[in-house]
């Protein structure tokens, strides 16, 4: 019997088959298939479920000490060039397989509740299965080129899912923005892959790493060129993992349904960039400049995300900027040469952030009962408050998530974030300061979200705030179309079991999984890199660990205390204390560092203008010359008219006359 690893190719193929079946059904028998909601959901959930079982079998094998396995076949060839594709299973891949299938499965169950009333239910599940398949393919790719293939495919799924509610203009714009910004990253990734192939003749991670450092050491390649190639490749992860300055698409991508935000834009796809950087460690490691750049970009990102999250009033946007910030932490770990720490944070973050997003979805779902299907209202925290009374499971799990991400021991976030900060302290002390301060900001903004949403009094029925929010968003007042959904509830309700169950399940790893990565006995590091785990355990000393960990916990507690004082006890009014005193800073944060405006002016308007000018040149100059020549050669408008009467025979005559003349000519010659 083949081992699970040998069957790993089935893991992405199973959901793909499911997606193909329902996709073809949707195109051929749209109405019928759209009515088969439960069968479709059961089919696709079983496909992903089977993939999950297989993934855990693979993980168990890896835990038992099975080595990496790689299976390849010849995919394309020309001349002496052979391009191989296939799959590769190792510890890193096995961890990701288990993570992705687990969260995908939970999100699918959750979606059954969340999308219950949506007319695109079947289409949504099809996209979900398609995404799971692409993401799982990415995880087991054996070389850079295959990663690029799946990289684009997950991008496509993200495009389809962000634009899922395609009647909303905001969703349409966000989907396009996500795809185009990611293509900017892929532009660098593609060129980097090409360059590395030129330099090393390979697409494999280890081979590229070995040959690149060999070439640099041998002098056939200058260090500068090697660094540029590495950084070009890094542009891909920058876009996908929302690193500054290519992070701009991620907050907008929240226009997609909330389960998507949890699965794609928090737990899995956005982590693909971090995963790729981890895969590329053998390539990046020898170049200090590359590592430093990655660390600096990660640090800028983590500060940026957290600082913008401070002022967000939209629940999902707040979580989105928090994701940006946490991805920055992971990138910082990669830059510090600590891929294990980065991957560990990826795993813990995936669980608690997926839970937080699903929790926000549960809140939004409940709010829609009160304020209607208007994202401007349903997602704004000014209309929430006091939801704990109505939604006990959601509020409890959300609170667990907040504690976990804030880095309070023994919850998951503490262990992973503290490990990153410890690494940064050793490698780049300046960057550690930024990461440390941001940890405080993180605790503050997360508890701000919690208090505004779940504590205090419910403000959802306040018509004045509703009208104000709608006016600010430039939308018509709800009163105008209230006949669509006239019977609003007066207060929200807890969501059904399909939505509550995944929240409860995710709470378990959010609390416990960090214990797998304690610095004195890291089972996680032991799996990914036994050598490093042993070293960590050997060098571990409480005297080093306690001060740093204590400082982290202290600043988190400080952040939480400020949030408690401001939003729970209302002792300090941050609006007057900070925002009014530093209006420039407040505006800077509220306008998201002005990056969207800058992009719009520089790139969007710029490219439109350039395109218009080129078209003008094409129509006036290039085509103008053609038309002018046409006129001149025909002598006058008379000749042109002759052609325009449609006498094609005339032309045919010329051709045939010419050919006959040729025949006669040859006849005479021959």
């Amino acid at each position: 019997m083949p081992s699970a690893a040998e069957l790993a190719w089935l893991i992405p193929v199973l959901p793909l088959l499911g997606a193909c079946v329902t996709g073809l059904g949707l195109i051929s028998f749209n109405r019928t298939v759209n009515r088969l909601r439960k069968p479709v959901a059961v089919l696709l959930i079983s496909c992903v479920g089977a993939a999950a079982v297989l993934s855990y079998a693979v993980l168990a094998e890896q835990l038992a000490g099975a080595g990496p396995i790689e299976v390849l076949f010849n995919w394309a060839s020309a001349g002496t060039f052979n391009l191989q594709m296939g799959f590769r299973v190792d510890a890193l891949g096995a961890v990701m397989l288990a993570l992705v299938t687990t969260i995908a499965l939970l999100v699918m169950v959750y979606s059954d509740g969340y999308m219950a009333h949506d007319k695109g239910y079947v289409r949504f599940f099809t996209y979900l299965a398609l995404f799971s398949s692409s993401m799982l393919g990415l995880v087991i790719s054996p070389n850079l080129l295959e990663i690029y293939v799946f990289w684009e495919l997950v991008g496509m799924c993200s495009y389809l899912l962000v634009g899922f509610w395609y009647d909303r203009d905001a969703a349409a714009n966000a989907a396009q923005k996500a795809f185009v910004v990611n293509r900017v990253g892929d532009f660098g990734l593609l060129l980097g892959i090409l360059g590395l192939f030129w330099a090393t003749g390979s697409f494999g991670f280890e081979e590229i790493g070995a040959r690149l450092s060999e070439a640099v050491a041998g002098g056939s390649l200058s260090t500068g060129v090697a660094v540029i190639l590495c950084l070009l490749v890094f542009m891909g992860p920058m876009a996908k993992s929302a690193q500054f300055p290519l992070h701009v698409w991620l907050p907008d991508a929240m226009e997609g349904p909330t389960p998507i935000s949890a699965l794609i834009h928090a737990a899995t796809m956005v982590a693909a960039g971090v995963f790729l950087v981890a895969r590329l460690q053998p390539v990046y490691e020898p170049f200090a400049a590359v590592q430093l750049t990655i660390a600096v970009i990660g640090t800028i990102t983590l500060v940026l995300g957290a600082s913008i999250a401070l002022t967000q009033m939209d629940l999902k946007k707040g979580l989105a900027y928090s994701t940006v910030s946490q991805l920055g932490y992971m990138m910082l770990a990669m830059g510090c040469g600590a891929p294990v720490a980065g991957m560990f944070h990826l795993v813990t973050h995936a669980f608690f952030k997926a839970m937080l997003f699903l929790g926000s979805g549960s809140v939004i779902h409940a709010m829609e009962e009160v304020v209607g299907h208007e994202p401007v209202l349903a997602q704004d925290m000014r209309l929430m408050g006091g939801l704990r009374k109505f939604m006990p499971i959601t509020s409890a799990t959300f609170l667990i998530g907040c504690v976990a991400i804030s880095g309070i021991p023994p919850l998951a976030g503490f262990w992973s974030k503290d490990e990153i900060l410890g690494q940064a302290f050793g490698s780049f002390p300046v960057l550690w300061v930024a990461g440390f301060v941001t940890a405080g900001m993180t605790a503050f903004y997360m508890f701000r979200l919690y208090f505004l949403t779940f504590e205090g009094d419910f403000r959802g029925t306040d018509q004045a705030i509703q009208a104000q929010l709608l006016a600010a968003a430039g939308k018509a007042s709800a009163a105008d179309d209230s006949h669509d959904h006239g019977h609003h509830a007066s207060h929200p309700h807890e969501s059904g079991w399909q939505m509550a169950m995944p929240l409860a399940v995710l709470a378990v790893p959010s609390v416990l999984i960090g214990l797998l990565g304690t610095p004195w006995n890291s089972r996680f590091a032991g799996l990914l890199d036994p050598h490093e785990a042993a070293e960590m355990a050997e060098h571990f000393s409480w005297a080093e660990f306690l001060p740093l960990a204590g400082a982290s916990v202290a600043i988190s507690v400080a952040g939480i205390s400020v949030a408690v004082l401001a939003y729970a006890l209302h002792r300090i009014d941050l609006g007057t204390a900070v925002a009014a005193r530093f209006p420039a800073l407040n505006a800077f944060l509220a306008n998201k560092w002005y990056l969207d405006d800058l992009n719009d002016k520089l790139f969007v308007q710029g490219s439109r203008k350039l395109a218009r000018q080129v078209l003008e040149v094409d129509a006036k100059v290039v085509d103008g010359v053609v038309n002018l020549t046409g006129l001149l050669t025909l002598g006058s408008g008379e000749g042109l008219k002759y052609f325009e009467t449609g006498r094609a025979q005339f032309y045919a005559l010329i051709v045939f006359g010419g050919v006959i003349a040729l025949v006669v000519l040859f006849g005479a010659l021959g």
């Binding site: 060839s77 001349g79 909303r168 090409l194 080129v614 290039v622």
Partner: protein, 536 residues
Amino acid sequence: MAFPWLSASILFPIGAALLIPFVPDEGDGRKVRWYALGIALITFLLTVGGYLNGYDPSVAGLQLVERVEWLPDLGLAWSVGADGLSMPLILLTSFITALAVLAAWPVTFKPRLFFFLLLAMDGGQIAVFAVQDMLLFFLAWELELLPVYLLLAIWGGKKRQYAATKFILYTAGSSLFILLAGLGMAFYGGGIPTFEYTSLAAKEFSTGFQVLCYAGLLIAFGVKLPIVPLHTWLPDAHGEATAPVHMLLAGILLKMGGYALLRFNCQLLPDAHVRFAPLLVVLGVVNIIYAALTSFAQRNLKRKIAYSSISHMGFVLIGIGSVSALGTSGAMLQMVSHGLIGASLFFLVGATYDRTHTLQLDDMGGVGQKMRKMFALWTVCSLASLALPGMSGFVAELMVFVGFATSEVYSLSFRIVMAVLAAVGVILTPIYLLSMLREIFFGKENAELASHSNLVDAEPREIYVISCLLVPIIGIGLYPRLMTDTYRASMERLVGQEDKAMAHLREATGLPGGTPLAPFLASGGAQALLRAPAVG
């Protein structure tokens, strides 16, 4: 004697088309279209039969050869055959034409003439790819213009006369160069003039003569491909054509330019080719960026897609100019791939126009609410066009990129600059294609449009046509060797010739082996061109 598969594929549709006047039909085309579909399908089966029975992909040389002396005095013979350069395109032609007949189902105006012209084009275009004699090639090339002209001039849009005239003047003017170059090559070196490719290939043309012929042919085929700035007939012709004609224009006609470049410029004039190769790469990059920008700015749907075709053809030029087996294979694959993807997009444009009665993006919006299946088809085809992995366009572009990036012929700086610029196209393509999707389908329903148009969803015939095109698109995307293995041997032989020419050039210029030749090549080509009259 074996069954003459190729001659049959050429002559059968033409002969059957001549019988169309005798098909009993009430003038509404209901019977004629079934007749035409039958003929087109049989033609497709004939080409497939030829491929299965007489074609061995592992052989580099000419196969399925049929040769009959026609006018021995002229050295003119009916000589057809297929190798790796022509076989994929022959199959593509008969395949796309059969689908174009299906796409022409709604044609009710002069249906007999319309289907007659479609079938005549079918045979004519197969002939272009199959003939092995330059004079025959010229005849086939010219004859195929006539149906296109009529199809444009009679069934086109408002500016059809202008577009048709422009098309015919442009192409006829450029074919003059083919005739001159062909005659020159036939008479070169004295003796009995010969037009057959094999005898032409055996001739040892002087470099100056090669460069002169190459320049002429490049202009002729550059109009067809098209190469910027010789492209302005294309947006007009495409802007006015009906959907089936569109499919043929984008699917097959443009490929005639690429095929002829490989067949004549690369195969018969290798010494000139290695001198011109850098120019081809530069022109290819210009095509990609220039046409992508104009496409982005276009507000007319048909013209937008037309410009995107020009942009995609840039990869064919870069691939041919890469002087590497991988890049040239990529160019060939890009031709096949764009033939399928371009045809599918233009078919969808026609199907959408039938419903909205407008091509202006400003007048559309929100039609995805009513036309969900149409939306899905558009999305898939647009994603194919922007080279999404898993579909054929991605593999083709990737092969061109890798082939060019690793081509030792060029200096590193030249490769970097050109690869970076070509990769800008990777960003521009989704910008214009996704904006287009957004403006047609996304958003709230456009009330004005909905009031005076009939937005019914895609019908089974339309879904069927697109599915037929998507099967090979995705098939090639998943396993590209399905296609590349059919022409691999021929491509290696072609590139072997180019390598030999490159070695000659190194000898002539005294450069040691392994030295990159560009940008020296470009100036060398220019010098040779200047010297050419004296040599020729």
